[in-house]
Point group: C2
Chain length 214, copies 2
């Protein structure tokens, strides 16, 4: 998705540029953070020069916010669509939701978002509110709807669905952060399939030995 560096292949591509720039920006901002990111680096990664960035975005800050928004919206919409699928058992649906989320969001370039947001809300406070309303709340509500289905069907005991959704989200959030931030330094971090399977097993079955009596 990044334009190759071959200088002679340089072309004029007015429609494709904004997307390429947003994608490159999300990558570099995600790696280095806002302040440590140089626009020259973003431009180079998108295969253009710095001047071109300013043809499409007013400032570094505008590019940053646009990159964040462009990543959040598709992620949350896809998550809501998935939670609305009622064809699986509640426990199965939880497993699918979590693992799908990893594949579609955590492992893609959207996965840079949590780290980026955590690092930068201190410098962009309004981003925190927006992120909470547009990603966290909607995501938690989607997960909670699965839990509620499980309670209604008698598969789960009557817990507070939003509390469990919060726990589930914290796990997904932590795993993505961990992998992005400490991945190279953490050889013992399990593969996502194994990690999320364990999480859902513990959440569903608990630690108590008595569970086996069922």
């Amino acid at each position: 998705m990044i334009f190759p560096l071959c200088p002679r292949a340089r072309q004029r591509r007015k429609e494709a540029r904004p997307g390429e720039l947003l994608s490159a920006a999300l990558e570099v901002f995600g790696e280095r953070g806002f302040a440590a990111t140089k626009l020259d680096d973003v431009a180079k990664r998108a295969g253009v020069s710095k001047g071109t960035v300013y043809l499409y975005f007013d400032s570094k800050e505008a590019l940053f916010k646009a990159a964040v928004e462009s990543a959040v919206i598709p992620a949350v919409e896809a998550g809501e669509a998935l939670a609305a699928d009622h064809s699986l058992s509640p426990a199965e649906a939880l497993r699918t939701f979590v693992f799908w989320w990893w594949e579609k969001v955590g492992a893609s370039d959207i996965g840079a978002l949590p780290k980026l947001l955590v690092a930068e809300v201190g410098n962009f406070p309004e981003l925190g509110k927006w992120f909470h309303e547009n990603l966290v709340m909607r995501g938690k509500r989607a997960a909670a709807s699965i839990i509620e289905r499980g309670i209604a069907s008698g598969d789960f005991r009557p817990v507070v669905a939003m509390d469990v959704a919060r726990i589930l989200f914290a796990q997904m959030f932590a795993y993505v952060l961990w992998r992005r931030a400490f991945g190279p330094a953490m050889p013992d971090l399990p593969k996502p399939e194994a990690y999320f399977a364990t999480v859902v097993d513990i959440l569903v079955n608990g630690l108590k030995g008595e569970t086996k009596c069922a």
Copy 2:
């Protein structure tokens, strides 16, 4: 702990300065990140001028690393001591461990560490390895020792203790990050007592209705 700004009260305090500077540095780095932090601001918060910073630390980077190390070491040592206390039941011990950790680490200025490390490992790769070995692994082993006690006593089913420790750590990690980063923007975030009580309840008892048959 921060020296008051009263200019006439300025004194020479060779022994106290390094600690004051480290504390101020941890605060400001935690709020803004490494690159966005100005040494003038750190100096001002510690009640000195920028030149004084360079009397005690070689560079901005040296100050940063010293601030991180000075916060990590007491946190991890206190955590290990707590896990070694065998006087509580396993489920009680888990609750205590998690909640104690919040009070001693999450709510103090050490709580700035997770956010700071997540944000900066990209720019300081060696920090990631060090952090993993000296904080994450030791913390997880401490939590795992509690789980293993529960398995040995028959309170818990025979899960992989380190897996559950990872899940527990992810929760603590996520809560601290959340509070620090999005706290003002997240009015629905429960108080730590309620949050951790729910986490331990779900981990121990699970979601399944059958648990109640015990």
